[in-house]
């Protein structure tokens, strides 16, 4: 295993150095960055799988000259699972980049981009491997900074710089909270080693534990994009190059889930009051619902996908939150089930979200626009991209028999099994969360029906879409690879559940593989066979067999009449793309029904002909959604800090003498304190 780790490090190292040291043509640079990344991520995939199946965690450490910092790594099953996820998505993104970078040639340095991307993947790998608080924070900060540099690739655009700055500020606020949490641990243990965090000499007091819970929730929640800390996602994810967006949205936000699991279930060993779990569940529900709602109103494909990340983080937290609630009531099996559901959804979301972002990147590559209203008819022009995007859309809408369905089903089961909790309040709250999850599921379906339908079906809505062509082979391979994973993880839960169970078992304290799998693994029957069961392989088989029946019936009852092709009936006039339903029109009923949430402002100005008011000369239509969180939460905060800074300007006069006086006074004060 150590050899694999060296291959991984050497691969990323080569991927960072080679493109920078061998300056050649852009094509060669994208290969010198891409091939080492492919080698490194492949090593990561194997290493992750080995780590998942091995019984003992692998550890290693290197002392450093910096105090408190030990370069300690620990590959236990939790780290291995996230390493596997990062590497699979990283692998697809690296293959994709080989074709995609061509599109950026001339606008950005391919060599820098390739090197940064390798460094970014490496930093993320260390985030999950780190076994020391300072090392973890270093890797975390490196990951955040490198992703910032990748986000601002096209920094000539104002929009990109704004998004980058916003992201940079938000991620540092989050990091500050994590640092505080780690310092509390350090205060009581005197060490930054994760091992001492697990078994502190003197345990944290009740109040400190609660404080750490909140600090960690806010800190990692900012990176994960939990509502209301999600505001940076829809800015930063869309403007990054698409393979970077895929990694950011697919796996970087999952490192926050890793952090939450690590602290709550590993450091705190699953000992917490019920309201911790309820808080997580509540935030998960809100994130899931608001994420999908804002996604529906979005017509920039990449922003839409970014909002869906908020939704899916919410679904993951629903599973984990339910698990935490069960854990605090001592319902061990159910706690394991909730965790299993959340972690299963983590990898599923990584796969289909990366697939969809790569698909969005392909559309951007082919049409040079992210605006959905300018797509249309692309399925006929880009059949492969369209097919893979459809698989991604079906998976994220949780339709059987894909992977999204299996994990959402498991989340549903863990919420339903809440009737075993002794308090009536939670007994009612969890099914309501399930109902909201159902609403979220259908709204996601509507959203992706919109995204796929408007982008790929009907007639092209712009010249960009009319002239679109299928993307290069490496990009198609990357999407096909992820699409195959999405289907495989859906119809083969008997392979996935035992692996995820190895992550859950040490955290929840018991293995529930046997309790979840029934009928030799052909069906899932969580905890109680009678309560519920699901067999996606059987459903897939039934769907295939009955589709044959449908085809057979059509032939038997009607023969093989050849269909006639003719243009769509347009009530006597020729249909043009302007008459097609737009994305805005499609979601209008949803906007109206949920107007309490959206607070939309619609402005319609009509200019009439001078001769008659029956003929309009020009119409202007505007519509906005109220950005509630930005307006009522962030703007006042920013205003507060701006005023504060204005007041503090008095002591920041810019005079060197004054500053020297400050330093002198501080020194005296400190000396007095020391005495």
């Amino acid at each position: 295993m150590l050899n694999l780790l060296w291959i991984l490090l050497a691969g990323y190292g080569a991927g960072i150095l080679l493109p920078l040291c061998l300056p050649r043509r852009p094509e060669a640079q994208s290969l010198t960055a891409g091939v080492p990344a492919i080698v490194a991520t492949s090593a990561g995939v194997v290493l992750g799988l080995l780590g998942l199946t091995s019984s003992e965690p692998v550890t290693g450490s290197l002392a450093s000259t910096i105090p408190l910092l030990t370069l300690a790594i620990r590959l236990d099953s939790v780290a291995a699972f996230f390493l596997f996820t990062i590497s699979v998505v990283g692998l697809a993104a690296s293959i994709y980049a080989i074709g995609y970078l061509r599109h950026l040639a001339g606008r950005a340095s391919i060599a820098t981009l390739g090197a940064l991307f390798n460094a970014y993947l490496l930093a993320m790998t260390f985030v999950v491997l780190a076994d020391n608080g300072v090392f973890f924070l270093l890797a975390w900060e490196l990951m955040s900074l490198l992703s910032y540099f990748l986000v601002v690739t096209e920094h000539e655009k104002m929009e990109v710089r704004y998004a980058g700055l916003f992201y940079l500020i938000m991620t540092h606020i989050g990091t500050a909270f994590i640092v505080m949490a780690f310092l509390i641990f350090f205060q009581s243990t005197g060490s930054f080693s994760f091992e001492t965090f697990r078994q502190p000499g003197q345990p944290l007091t009740e109040g400190m534990r609660n404080l750490v819970f909140l600090l960690v929730l806010i800190g990692f929640g900012t990176k994960a994009g939990i509502v209301p800390l999600h505001v940076w996602l829809p800015y930063a994810h869309p403007v990054a190059p698409s393979h970077v967006s895929a990694v950011m949205s697919g796996v970087m936000i999952k490192t926050a889930i890793y952090g939450l699991i690590r602290v709550y279930f590993d450091f705190f060993d699953g000992q917490f009051p019920w309201w911790w779990g309820f808080t997580v569940l509540f935030l998960g529900t809100i994130s899931a619902l608001l994420g999908v709602m804002y996604a529906l109103m979005e017509h920039d494909l990449k922003r839409l996908l970014a909002f869906h990340s908020v939704e899916n983080i919410g679904i993951i937290l629903l599973g984990i939150g339910a698990g935490m609630i069960f854990q605090s009531y001592g319902l061990k099996e159910l706690a394991a089930l909730g965790l299993l559901a959340g972690i299963y959804h983590t990898i599923n979301h990584a796969l289909f979200k990366a697939l969809l972002f790569l698909g969005a990147g392909s559309l951007l590559y082919a049409t040079h626009t992210r605006n959905m209203e300018e797509y249309g008819g692309l399925l006929r022009r880009m059949p492969w991209t369209g097919f893979f995007f459809l698989i991604g859309a079906v998976s994220i809408s949780a339709l059987p028999p894909t992977n999204g369905f299996v994990s959402e089903w498991l989340v549903f089961q863990s919420l339903f099994l809440s009737f075993q909790i002794p308090t009536v309040f939670l007994k009612l709250m969890l099914p309501i969360a399930a109902a909201i999850l159902a609403l979220t599921g259908v709204l996601a379906l509507a959203c992706f029906a919109k995204a796929f339908g408007i982008a790929f079906l009907a007639q092209p809505r712009s010249a960009h879409a009319r002239h679109a062509q299928e993307v290069p082979v490496p990009m198609r391979i990357a999407m096909g690879f992820l699409a195959a994973f999405c289907v495989a993880l859906g119809i083969a839960p008997m392979v996935v559940v035992p692996l995820v169970d190895r992550v859950v078992a040490p955290l929840a304290g018991l293995s529930i593989e046997r309790k979840v799998l029934a009928l030799d693994g052909w069906a899932l029957a969580p905890v109680n066979v009678e309560f519920s069961s699901l067999s996606t392989p059987m459903l897939a088989l039934l769907l295939a067999a009955l589709a044959m029946l449908g085809l057979g019936l059509a032939v038997a009852l009607g023969g093989r009449l050849k269909a006639r092709h003719y243009k769509t009936w347009g009530c006597g006039i020729n249909l043009t793309p302007q008459m097609e339903y737009t994305a805005t029109g499609f979601v209008q009923p949803i906007k109206r029904v949920f107007s309490t949430i959206y607070q939309p402002t619609v402005k319609l100005e009509t200019e009439f002909l001078d001769e008659s008011r029956y003929f309009a000369k020009r119409r202007r239509f505007e519509f906005h959604i109220e950005p509630i969180f930005e307006k009522y939460l962030y703007d006042p905060l920013v205003a507060f800090f701006a005023t504060l800074a204005g007041r503090l300007k008095v002591i920041q006069a810019g005079s060197l003498h004054l500053y020297l006086t400050y330093i002198f006074i501080t020194l005296i004060a400190l000396l007095l304190l020391a005495v």
Partner: protein, 316 residues
């Protein structure tokens, strides 16, 4: 194994055979209540046979989604139908999925229908798709909560297990109020999901009021036949669900031929009775405006939630 296979084939056949009949019954009841003689209840079979033999016309604007959709919808509904007991309480495919799987299988069909509505590029199709999206989003939470309220009584979310357990109890429910509320909620959901008045009108010819019919407006020939049959199947699935979950009397709980025969007869009678009820409702109520439908579905959701609340209160 062979036994299960035969049961599956029998169930598929029953579902396929009964769905046009149920549509026919509703039409007949409506006609009689409107003082018309109406077509025979067997007319939908003739319609299907005729449509299968017509040459389909496909729009040149469409992609493969358009031709694949009728098969996907038909398949997903039949698969969903295999998860719901019809004439026997022990469906062989019970293990393949519970109520959540059923709901999501229906959603699979809805997803592709919405896509197909957008594919031809006509505004009517888009309009239908857009409306279907909002109606579907409002029905599913109510449906899941209402089934959950019943599932709690029986300790199972698998429809067949619920029905089998209730049937063995001879239909005696200790506290009927959660069940009645869930029944009311599920009935409203069924009306909305199968595109019936007051949510949608399957007999309308006015594009501006259509939902389901607008989505399938561009279809013809065998594709339309499959979609019409699927609409009938959806009706059959929902009526079987309501009839057997809330009134499992007479359903075959054993595997003897006599029990099966009685089960089949009772099943046809029960679903036909529900179809008559739907026919009466269609005559008594006007179609609601699209934005009033939300109120109706909101009522369904609240009813299901109350059912759940009542269950916990009565228990404790």
């Amino acid at each position: 194994m062979l036994h299960s296979l035969i049961l599956m084939v029998a169930q598929t056949t029953v579902l396929l055979a009964i769905s046009p009949f149920l549509v026919g019954v509703i039409r007949k009841v409506k006609a009689r209540l409107q003082l018309r003689r109406g077509a025979s209840v067997l007319q939908p079979y003739a319609d299907l046979a005729k449509l299968f033999q017509k040459q389909p016309v496909i729009s040149t604007a469409t992609s493969w989604i358009f031709t694949a959709t009728p098969y996907i919808v038909f398949t997903s509904l039949l698969t969903a139908g295999l998860l719901v007991p019809t004439f026997t309480s022990q469906t062989p495919m019970n293990f393949a999925g519970n109520i959540i799987a059923l709901v999501y299988l229906l959603a699979l069909g809805t997803f592709f229908l919405i896509l197909a509505g957008l594919d031809a590029g006509s505004a009517f199709g888009g309009m239908g798709s857009s409306r279907e999206a909002i109606v579907a989003s409002l029905t599913e939470p109510a449906m899941i909560l209402s089934i959950f309220a019943i599932a709690l009584t029986n300790g199972s979310t698998n429809v067949s297990t619920i029905v089998h357990k209730t049937a063995l109890l001879e239909g005696i429910v200790t506290d009927p109020s959660p069940h009645l509320m869930a029944l009311a909620a599920l009935f409203i959901v069924a009306l909305a999901e199968t595109g019936r008045v007051p949510v949608d009108n399957p007999a309308t010819h006015l594009e501006l009021t259509m939902i389901h019919e607008a989505m399938v407006l561009e279809y013809s020939g065998r594709y339309l036949a499959l979609l019409e049959w699927s609409a009938g199947l959806k009706l059959a699935v929902f009526l079987s669900l309501i009839a057997n979950v809330f009134a499992p009397w007479g359903i075959a709980t054993t595997m003897t031929p006599a029990a099966m025969a009685i089960g089949l007869l009772v099943y046809v009678a029960k679903t036909a009775a529900l179809a008559v009820l739907i026919g009466v409702i269609e005559c008594m109520f006007a179609k609601l405006r699209l934005f009033r439908v939300t109120d109706l579905l909101g009522v369904a959701f609240i009813l299901a939630l109350l059912g759940l609340l009542f269950f916990y209160i009565l228990r404790s």
